[in-house]
Symmetry: C2
Subunit: 311 residues, 2 copies
């Protein structure tokens, strides 16, 4: 097989596979690899997509300088894969990391790769499951010499060639900017959650929260893509009473709040939104028990039993 592919995508999960498809549909010759055979089979045979049977075989399909985009969950799996990829590359080649890494890890990784003559570009990717159709918001960091040859890749992934992507600055700045993006997401989502909770709680007005969400999408100050999603969710299920009141957090919120502490920038809304998620996970329960005990101690107020909170 000739070595003429523009980019290799390593990690063909929901995000990686969709991004590979979007690149191929834009006419870029791409290849991909995943350790899971099912993931490889999911994109094999699509026009413009070549799938390798191993990491080495996949990288062998690339033209030089080679560009390998690692699209895996942040953490050990990404770090190990980047190390494996680096072992198969030569000086001047480029590794891109599209996971939501902590930018401190990105900076360490970049230093180690640069010592081996490899370039490292960190890419924050937004858009989730809608990206294949609408394009991905991209924010990336890295040396200009490594970024410039890859602009056609970024432009094909973005909503349009001239928008939705930004070269933020040096390596690390892409994941930093994505971290901040996700921090904003925490605060904005919680702002909507509180508003709809107030609408829902005002029983005497019997408000149709789905109709209000739909109306707000047009002409108001709070219109947004998040509100579009909220209106869709409320149309299906305005009461939401079968949904467990538990919200996961996957790191970026904590990193954002920590960064605020490191830089001495107050982030009261981001921190409050993060705290709501932590409390929803039961992480505030010991504190609540402590308060119940204290109220009992000074005022004789009843303390409920854990299996019967209202008792």
């Amino acid at each position: 097989m000739s070595a003429d592919r523009t980019l290799a995508m390593v990690g063909l999960g929901r995000m990686g596979a969709s991004m590979l498809r979007r690149l191929a549909r834009a006419g870029l010759p791409v290849c991909g690899f995943d350790v899971a055979e099912a993931a490889r089979a999911g994109v094999a045979g699509e026009p413009g997509v070549a799938v390798g049977t191993s990491l080495a075989a996949t990288i062998a399909m690339l033209r030089a300088p080679r560009a390998v985009w690692v699209m895996l969950p942040a953490g050990a799996i990404t770090t190990q894969t980047i190390d494996a990829v680096a072992g198969l590359l030569s000086p001047g080649d480029v590794i891109l990391d599209g996971g939501n890494a902590d930018y401190h890890d990105t900076l360490r990784q970049a230093a180690s790769l640069e010592a081996r003559g490899l370039h490292f570009i960190d890419v924050g990717v937004s858009g989730g499951v809608w990206g294949l159709a609408e394009g991905y918001g991209l924010m990336f960091g890295g040396p200009k010499s490594a970024v410039t040859p890859l602009l056609p890749v970024f432009q094909a992934l973005a909503p349009a060639a001239d928008r939705g992507w930004v070269h933020c600055g040096p390596t690390g700045s892409g994941h930093y900017t994505k971290m901040v993006h996700n921090g904003i997401e925490y605060g904005a989502m919680q702002a909507y959650a509180e508003g709809f909770a107030l609408l829902h709680a005002k029983r005497e007005f019997a408000l149709d929260v789905a109709a209000i969400a739909e109306a707000w999408r047009h002409g108001t100050v709070v219109r947004s893509w998040l509100l579009d999603l909220a209106a869709g969710a409320l149309r299906q299920d305005p009461l939401m009473d079968q949904v467990a009141p538990l919200v996961a957090d996957s790191g970026e919120g904590r990193w954002t709040v920590r960064e605020g502490l490191d830089l001495g920038v107050p982030l009261p809304v981001t921190a409050a939104a993060l705290n709501v998620r932590l409390a929803s996970q039961g992480r505030g329960d010991y504190g609540a028990r402590f308060l119940a005990r204290l109220r009992n101690a000074f005022g004789g107020h009843a303390v409920g039993r854990a299996d019967r909170p209202g008792s």
Copy 2:
């Protein structure tokens, strides 16, 4: 003059005048009045707009049942104007209040007007200076019998006849819903403010905050109309160092937080966003002085002088 006008707008300030224009451009025959001659002159002579020289003369232009929309700042001026309008109307006529009133005041006003046989519709209006061109988001409350004949008015003001407006429920629910809308606005705005503050503070990356804002408008989770405005503002003035760091609050944030207390609904993000504004107004200064004094008392830490805070 024949009494054939559909609606009278009382208060021809920036909002009232633009709304009157939008109605006239939609082909609805309307009339308007303002105590300020300059405001009357601002719309006089526009196609489809009749301007009265007094409140009574303006209301005399209306066909029955008469509909008078009061578009003035919430508070005494609105209450007094509604009282004056009510004195010129007959049972079955309708008064609309488009100011951002506290919904408790709206409920009291409605009870008093209903006792006189008048209907009262409270309308939350969103869209600000962009409404004339793009249409206004409208959320209104009132009895269906009074609302239905006015649907053409709401449909003409809204971004389109079939969207951007919602009949929330009984009188009071329009201003309630607008209050919640504005509460969400507080939290969402602050979420963006914190994110851009973190981007700005990360000096070693020398991030182009305007370019990032522009890129985020396309394909990302945080895209919104507020972000569109932020991108425009940052393009003009990314440093913002000539802008006083002082944010006014005009009531709705405080009302929203108070409503959360009344209903027992936690609103940590809305409250935090409100607190940021209050602190920016210097209302936290006594507390900060108190903390500085306490640190001095237990640790001997230096206390700055008010005219030289860093001393």
